[in-house]
Amino acid sequence: MLSDNLKAKFDQVIARYPVKRSAIVPLLLFAQDEIGYITDEAIEEIARRVEVRPIEVVEDIGYYSMLHRQPVGKYNFQVCTNVSCQLLGGEEILDHCSKRLGIGHKQTTPDGVFSLEEVECLGACCGAPAMQVNYDFYENLTPARIDRLIEEFKANGKA
């Protein structure tokens, strides 16, 4: 079941547009934020609310790289390796995360605490190399800083 908060948010977002289906992508993202990934139930509910067939919602999901049909870790490391980050060691940061977490691109640790993803430019070029963990930016990264972050998240993730 979707929470009352999320339902209220859905109503508020849909009301912004003259055509309801405009709300599909925002609703998917907000649903994912709450549930952790996009469930069949969320697809049905969104389709019902914006008055399209569920398959039309599914079509959108396939297009947008931030939308997931599977659960991701509690801390989703999204490491940028695009050109500004690459020049300052973005690929080394990605490799370091991969070794430390024991997972590769688009994988999740068995305990469900961490996921890793290589992503395209995050708009953090002046703080390269950079990553996002969920929606939070972490910039001017070093392998040592990654180690500290992982320890910190581990402590929180298992609590």
Binding site: S22, V25, L29, V50, D60, Y64, E120, C121, E139
Partner: protein, 438 residues
């Protein structure tokens, strides 16, 4: 949040127009904004009348800061005046061009400046609804903007009868969910309508047939942020800050191999060499510069011999490149340009929406070629094959993504051909086989 110190290092050479309030404590609050000329441009615009506003913006020589560099006032003037349809303003905050991170501080430190610009744009074209299309990754900025929008509504700068003028305007944020293609204006419109972000055939242009089939103007965040200043201080003043036909200032994002990476507001036409040496403090470790990406990864790259150029749209076009989105990337002498080409192509192959075959297939093949080549499996004919594929993408897709993939590739192959040859001769990357300093 971004680290203010990382982004806004400051330089005495800056001319601060749109970044002028960034340093103020609590700069996102409407009270701070109002105490520093906030919403005065809107007040003035409402007295001038829509046509005068459009003319003022046209004469200011403000050109689109998203990268295309089209005269903003002229774009607004294409919206039909007597039409029985609603009109829309869409702010393109889908900042995704690699190396570009200027819209982020504009929204993070001065959200009301952007809102003011959008309301003025709406008034100029006769729209009553606007949307700010923010990339999904910029969630914290959507929260900052949503708070600013609520403040603007509560003080009468949005909603019904704005400042007693009889003009109504509503504005809301809209989030994307990870797709570079949605920064292209017609793909953005499809995305805003809840569809996959595929580009549309132009013409008709969005100014005539945009979102929901209605006249729509789409402007970049930075473009709209300039508008209140132009109205308040006049077109002549704004145009005079830059070079002929390139009005105003520009936020340049210096990144890559540079001592002081950051976002700097400099006059249009500022010399690239001084930008690198004086604003950015030169190349780290006393190394030599090898190449510069002048305006985001879609632009043809420059060699170190080409940096005596004024950074404006026309000067960059004259030397076969583009001013683009303001993302300036310095690349030092120890960098493998084949690897740079490979990484750039990996991006475009990933982001090609697949709608136009030359772009979808071309980027995929170029990526495969460059991957193999950089890995040591290249042959002497590969650079020519890369050029051939690139020329077969160029101008053959509905939106500029295909061109954006082809142009940097062509420039790297042509300008750094010796590095390709060296890969073939050695059977491996000449830069990776030698130790790189930490």
């Amino acid at each position: 949040m971004s680290d203010y110190q990382s982004y806004m290092k400051g330089s005495p050479l800056e001319v601060k127009v749109i970044s002028g309030r960034f340093h103020l404590p609590n700069s996102t609050s409407i009270d701070v904004f109002l105490a520093h000329d906030g919403y005065k441009g809107l007040q003035k615009a409402l007295q001038m009348g829509p046509d005068a506003v459009i003319n003022e913006v046209k004469n200011s020589q403000l050109r689109g800061r998203g990268g295309a560099g089209f005269n903003t006032g002229l774009k607004w003037s294409f919206v039909p005046k007597n039409i029985d349809k609603p009109k829309y303003v869409v702010c393109n905050a889908d900042e995704s061009e690699p190396a570009t991170c200027k819209d982020r501080p504009l929204m993070e430190y001065d959200p009301h400046q952007l809102i003011e610009g959008i309301v003025i744009a709406g008034y100029a074209i006769g729209a009553h609804q606007g949307y700010i299309f923010i990339r999904g990754e910029y969630r914290y900025l959507m929260e900052i903007l949503d708070r600013a929008l609520a403040e603007a509504y509560s003080r009468g700068y949005l909603g019904k009868n704005i400042l007693g003028s009889g003009f109504d305007f509503d504005l809301a944020t809209h989030t994307g969910a990870g797709a570079y293609e949605c920064g292209e204006e017609t793909a953005l419109l499809n995305s805003l309508e809840g569809l996959r972000g595929y580009p549309r055939v132009k013409p008709p242009f969005p100014a005539v047939v945009g979102v929901y089939g209605c006249p729509t103007i789409i402007n970049n965040v930075e473009t709209l942020a300039c508008v209140p200043h132009i109205i308040l201080k006049g077109a002549e003043w704004y145009a005079g800050l830059g070079t002929p036909k390139n009005g105003g200032t520009r936020l340049f994002c210096l990144s890559g191999h540079i001592n002081r990476p950051g976002v700097y507001e400099l006059p249009m036409g500022f010399p690239l060499r001084r930008m690198i040496e004086e604003v950015g403090g030169g190349i780290p470790g006393g190394k030599n510069l090898k190449s510069v990406i002048p305006g985001g990864s879609s632009c043809p790259l420059l060699t170190a011999d080409e940096i005596d150029v004024p950074m404006d749209f026309d000067s960059l076009a004259k030397i076969g490149s583009m001013l683009g989105s303001g993302g300036v990337v310095m690349i030092d002498e120890d960098t493998c340009m084949v690897k740079v080409a490979q990484r750039i192509m990996k991006f475009y192959a990933h982001e090609s929406c697949g709608w136009c075959i030359p772009c979808r297939e071309g980027t995929t093949w170029l990526k495969a070629l460059l991957d193999r080549f950089h890995g040591g499996g290249g042959s002497m004919g590969d650079p020519d094959t890369a050029l051939d594929i690139s020329y077969n993408i160029l101008g053959k897709s509905l939106c500029p993504l295909g061109d954006a993939a082809a142009m940097p590739t062509i420039s790297i192959v042509k300008k750094f051909r010796n590095e390709f040859d060296e890969h073939v001769r050695l059977g491996e990357c000449p830069f990776e086989s030698r130790p790189v300093a930490a």
